[in-house]
């Protein structure tokens, strides 16, 4: 191998998932218009009410765009996005009949295998049902039949619209209305697919549900919606993973996730976000503008968000909880890592409405290279939230001296009986720590990875086992070459 090829291999190693699948793709014309919205809806064979909803969202988006409502508050900078200069829908041409995994294009099966997500019946992951979303469509869902035995509905959003329109209609936009924010409005107008899960009353979902999002097509945005409903006493643990090819262009990913937990229900939502982060000069990478929100509607319900954010050139997300039911619980555990020119503005909102509601926030930020990140969190205690409690802890770890970390905690307390605590620390990996590890025979890079993983331990232990292992590896790989 020539020296340059070796170097290229070394550089490519940093982002393992940067390959492109050669597959025939069907795309609708470039740009955004009412016709495009209609076209997407038609492609999905959607009912009229949904098209109406999309169009209302689209008009709202146009108004926000005209009024300059493009959000500017976040501590991130990027050139203005040209919403006419991208494709809003791209799908593999040979779409299999969604019902049978055997008919999925072998090229797609190979793609997911390469990503570590086998779809084939005999090889699929034990104990994890996977919905595979490729560009704008869901291409396969495993364990569907098994889940149906428990009355659990899990699969693509489009499928749910066809088979369970009453559920979709009742809950869609009920937690994140299309008018919520600029990117939520855009998503509501043009979303193409996503995952839908419904856990009936009293059912504890017997396996992890997960969605694997893959962006493949060029110049294409991914706009998916996820809707999870846990009925009274139900329990579900849901995971999502995401990757994209290594490209010089920036691609937009604007998703909306809505969770609904009724009385005594519990939803655990975990994310390992590894979109292509761009190169060391900040070229390429995914713009990740996501709105995630859970509603603890029922008494004693619980929603917990766990996220490991290592990818994307820009990450903008605040997974939040509306604690409406009395004694409901919201949790947010986050690890965000920024290096090179990556920027992240992430955090959460905990809205306490019911009595004795409780929330916990643990945020761990790691900045390396010229990465910049901000924790932005809101804890709001409403006038009726007697006895509400919040504990927030935000720790930042800096590697090197060109990176930055910022913490913006916002507090609004309208009930005097509430208890709100906030702790924040910023630290650097010390030379003493590194030397101690190295004196024990551990290489400098392994030592950094070990110290970072230790720093994140409180969050990583919230992840399901397989994901925790993957997240640890990811943090290690992402930090390669960050020392010195």
């Amino acid at each position: 191998m020539s020296e340059t090829a070796e170097l290229r291999d070394l550089a490519a190693k940093e982002y393992e998932y940067g390959f492109v699948t050669n597959i025939e793709t069907e795309r609708i014309p470039k740009g955004l218009s009412e016709d495009i919205v209609r076209l997407i809806s038609a492609k999905k064979e959607e009912p009229a009410w949904l098209l109406e909803w999309r169009l209302r969202a689209y008009r709202r988006f146009l108004k926000m765009l005209a009024d300059g409502h493009h959000p500017k508050w976040a501590q991130v900078s990027y050139p203005e996005i040209d919403f006419q200069d991208m494709y809003y829908y791209a799908a593999p041409k040979q779409q299999a009949k969604y019902e049978s995994l055997d008919q999925v294009d072998p090229e797609l099966v190979r793609t997911y295998e390469k990503l570590g997500i086998p779809l084939a019946e005999q090889k699929r992951l034990a104990g994890v049902a996977v919905d595979a979303v490729f560009d704008s469509v869901s291409v396969a869902t495993t364990y569907k039949a098994e889940l149906e035995k428990h009355g659990i509905i899990f699969g693509s959003f489009s499928d749910a619209v066809k088979k369970h329109p009453e559920l979709v209609r009742r809950y869609l936009g009920s937690v994140v209305p299309y008018s919520d924010n600029f990117f939520a409005a855009l998503n509501s107008a043009v979303f193409s697919d996503g995952s839908f899960a419904y856990i009936p009353k009293g059912v504890r979902c017997p396996m992890e549900l997960s969605t694997y999002f893959r962006i493949n097509a060029q110049e294409t945005g991914q706009f998916e919606r996820t809707l999870i409903i846990a009925e009274e006493g139900a329990y579900v643990s849901y995971l999502e993973g995401c990757t994209a090819p290594q490209r010089d262009e920036n691609q937009l990913h604007a998703a909306v996730v809505e969770l609904i937990a009724l009385d005594d229900a519990q939803i655990k939502y975990s994310t390992v976000q590894n979109w292509y982060p761009g190169d060391e000069n900040g070229r390429g990478g995914i713009y990740n503008f996501v709105t995630k929100r859970g509603a603890c509607r029922g008494v004693r319900s619980k929603i917990s968000w766990t996220q490991v954010e290592t990818g994307s050139t820009i990450t903008w997300k605040k997974p939040s909880c509306i604690l409406q039911g009395d004694d409901s619980v919201g949790e947010f555990y986050s690890v965000a890592l920024t290096r090179n020119r990556q920027q992240a503005d992430t955090g959460t909102k905990m809205i306490h409405i019911g009595k004795n509601t409780k929330s916990t926030i643990v945020s761990k930020g790691i900045s390396a290279g010229r990465g910049s990140q901000s924790y932005r969190g809101l804890v709001k205690i409403g006038p009726k939230a007697t006895g509400a409690r919040n504990h927030s802890r935000c720790d930042s770890l800096l590697l090197g001296d060109q990176c930055g970390a910022h913490t913006f905690p916002y507090l609004e307390v309208k009930n005097a009986t509430a208890t709100v605590e906030h702790e924040a620390t910023t630290s650097k990996i010390s030379e003493d720590q590194l030397f101690y590890c190295r004196q024990r025979g551990i290489s400098e890079e392994d030592a950094v990875s070990m110290i970072v993983n230790g720093f994140c331990r409180e969050v990583l232990r919230e992840l399901p086992m397989e994901f925790a292992v993957e997240a640890q590896k990811l943090l290690g790989v992402s930090l390669e070459g960050s020392v010195g």
Partner: protein, 266 residues
């Protein structure tokens, strides 16, 4: 032991070693030869360069070597990175062990041991074998098994930290163990336990460099040689009696008259 050892090839040969920290010269020409099986004690007043010597030998980045050479098992020790030195069998028991939040003793020790094993071409120890090994070694230093699931040194008392150092030494079985004031801040019971752990490792193939301010530790870890460091040089060398003489008369006595037990630094 001494006569036999004298015929052996040296494990460590320090010649004319000079080093500085933040532009300030600390070591001003150290010469010292250590053969396998020997225990050497380095004594000396504060600021004489004891810990700097330990730091230079283990490769602490903030210490800058300005002259001299160090051969370890015939290799140029100063050319190796700290982790390479460790893998070659150089171990430093730290005077101030570092806390690593969120990383358990168990994970850390296993990673360290397996890094060494990999270097020696051995298979890594699996979790079960490592557990058995660590239990056995913990008994020697009187540590409870639950200490393995705590974060490295985090919230440990002074005594617990030192025990934790000796435990790592027992697990990693170095060829050259450097103990940097391992006795500081220990009560007499802890001192005995720590010394017991160190003595456990004494063997014909292994050498030790015990750095201490007080003679007390040397009652429990009996050295073959004692060297007195003053202003960055070895001022006197002798047998174990030198330590007792020093204890009785203090370091200042050395400046006035050469001690009876001294045989001169070589």
């Amino acid at each position: 032991m001494t006569t036999m050892a004298a015929e052996q090839k040296p494990l460590l040969e320090i010649r004319g070693l000079e080093a500085r920290v933040a532009e300030k010269p600390i070591l001003r020409g150290i010469d010292l030869t250590i053969r396998p099986g020997e225990v050497h004690a380095i004594m000396g007043p504060n600021g004489s360069g004891k810990s700097t010597l330990a730091g230079v030998l283990s490769g602490r980045p903030s210490f800058e070597v300005t002259a001299g050479s160090v051969l370890y098992d015939g290799k140029d020790l100063l050319a190796l990175k700290p982790e390479e030195r460790a893998r070659e069998g150089v171990f430093l028991a730290f005077q101030y062990p570092v806390e690593i939040p969120g990383v358990t003793n168990n994970y850390f020790f296993k990673a360290a041991l397996n890094a060494l094993r990999k270097h020696r071409g051995q298979d890594p120890l699996d979790a079960m074998d490592f557990l058995a090994l660590s239990r056995e070694k913990m008994k020697i230093v009187g540590m409870k098994p639950e200490m393995m699931s705590r974060a490295v040194n985090e919230g440990f008392s002074g005594g617990e930290k030192k025990r934790n150092e000796v435990l790592q030494m027992l697990l990693l079985e170095p060829r050259l163990a450097i103990l940097d004031e391992t006795d500081s801040g220990l009560d007499i019971d802890a001192l005995r336990v720590v010394a017991n752990g160190v003595n456990h490792l004494r063997s014909a193939g292994r050498a030790m460099l015990v750095i201490t301010h007080y003679q007390r530790l040397l009652e429990y870890i009996v050295p073959d040689f004692v060297h007195v460091l003053a202003e960055g040089r070895i001022a006197h060398s002798g047998g174990k009696e030198l330590a007792l003489e020093l204890e009785a008369k203090g370091y200042r006595w050395l400046e006035k008259e050469p001690p009876a037990a001294a045989v001169g630094a070589r």
